[in-house]
Amino acid sequence: AQRVTQPEKLLSVFKGAPVELKCNYSYSGSPELFWYVQYSRQRLQLLLRHISRESIKGFTADLNKGETSFHLKKPFAQEEDSAMYYCALSSGGGSNYKLTFGKGTLLTVNP
């Protein structure tokens, strides 16, 4: 069975500090991984998708198949980054592209 683990429920940093949100996964196939962000009481929005290798809002994430990780990083956190972040894994077409989510990390960036 596939699983996504986000070990930190809460993460608090100061503005300008680096931030890393951890995500580990278990999956027997070739994973497709995503980071979603949810600002207060809003819908989930896609932040990053591993195959696109983009940097969005200064965030990057690299898939490490050896360590089965997809950690989210930003070198200088901003107050507007305060939000809930979810790591998610897609099961692929054979399983109708269902997403399995981690439990989320609430990031607070203090002034």
């Binding site: 819908r43 979810y86 109708n96 989510f101």
Partner: protein, 111 residues
Amino acid sequence: DAGITQSPRHKVTETGTPVTLRCHQTENHRYMYWYRQDPGHGLRLIHYSYGVKDTDKGEVSDGYSVSRSKTEDFLLTLESATSSQTSVYFCAIRPTSGVTYFGPGTRLTVT
């Protein structure tokens, strides 16, 4: 917003009553999903659909049923609401781009 709407956006209901939530999409995508979001659990899949009249159970389907008689609408029914079904419900669609998009959510309270 990827053309996804949910109704109602907020609902308070009593234990034992049936409740139906509606998800509507404007772009005729094949895949649609219902998730519930709870603190400490992240998002969990309730049911999903891979076409008209084609639906299947997700991780937490007990007490829920779904129907999809038209491509654009995916209905979630709580057959007899319980307090444990108090949650925020998100509908999602997956276009061929490979990214899953979420609706604005329905906040349901069962008293």
